[in-house]
Symmetry: C2
Subunit: 154 residues, 2 copies
Amino acid sequence: MVLSGIWRKNENQRDPLPPNLVVSHDKSVSPQSVQELCASVGWSRREPELIVKALQNSLAVVSIWSNDEMIGFARATGDMVFNATIWDMVVRPDFQRLGVGRLVMHELLKELDEYQIPLVTLYADPGTDGFYKRFGFLCDPSGVRGMFREKQEY
Amino acid sequence: MVLSGIWRKNENQRDPLPPNLVVSHDKSVSPQSVQELCASVGWSRREPELIVKALQNSLAVVSIWSNDEMIGFARATGDMVFNATIWDMVVRPDFQRLGVGRLVMHELLKELDEYQIPLVTLYADPGTDGFYKRFGFLCDPSGVRGMFREKQEY
């Protein structure tokens, strides 16, 4: 899908989106493109075959492309009924603050809303909660806390 | 699987587990049993056909049975590669504080560890984080915050 100007007008963005962006909801995007995009923001390297498997097992995958390069990405896991969780929201540094992140979230939430999933959650890095609040996300509602268990050895 | 006394000894529990508990990792458990268990702790009613779909789309489902009644439950969603999220951890009130919740978590994490999933997350209700800390979970590590968007109309 190539974007029209309507998105820009409706969303009242301060800066216009870069021209000729392409939005994809395809889970079969190139794992190398995901890898390069994640590397551009300093995330640790993930094996292409694991990326392919994770994307296939995701509920929704959104990528934004400019001149055949992936510049924005996010995905969601979930049960397709009661809940979904957003992961790996990333925008290439040279395309940040241009509305690409908002476009990624808009497209991802649109797809999750088609499934009528009542609860969408995410884990926000420090300083990013203001961005997600624009989309109706609340921090720790009713005192519910996000908790993590990480194992480095895998 | 019927539990032996070994679990009790190894876990150093103050109270012994109720006798003759049965552990199931079957995603095809009766949705009515899940419904009744959730009702016993006051959770809002979910349609059986939606429960069936959500269980099938979950990565792992654990239920604990006593005399053919479900007394403990939890499940996890995820991509089977990089992350999993635990949902709907519940123990029937008359079986709480007997080690059933620990058994549910032990069984669920054991299954997720078989997939070698490096990141397991959950959202802890107020006052329950101490329970999850025993399993290695941390609140808001590095300032990462859990965020929620709920839509009531679905």
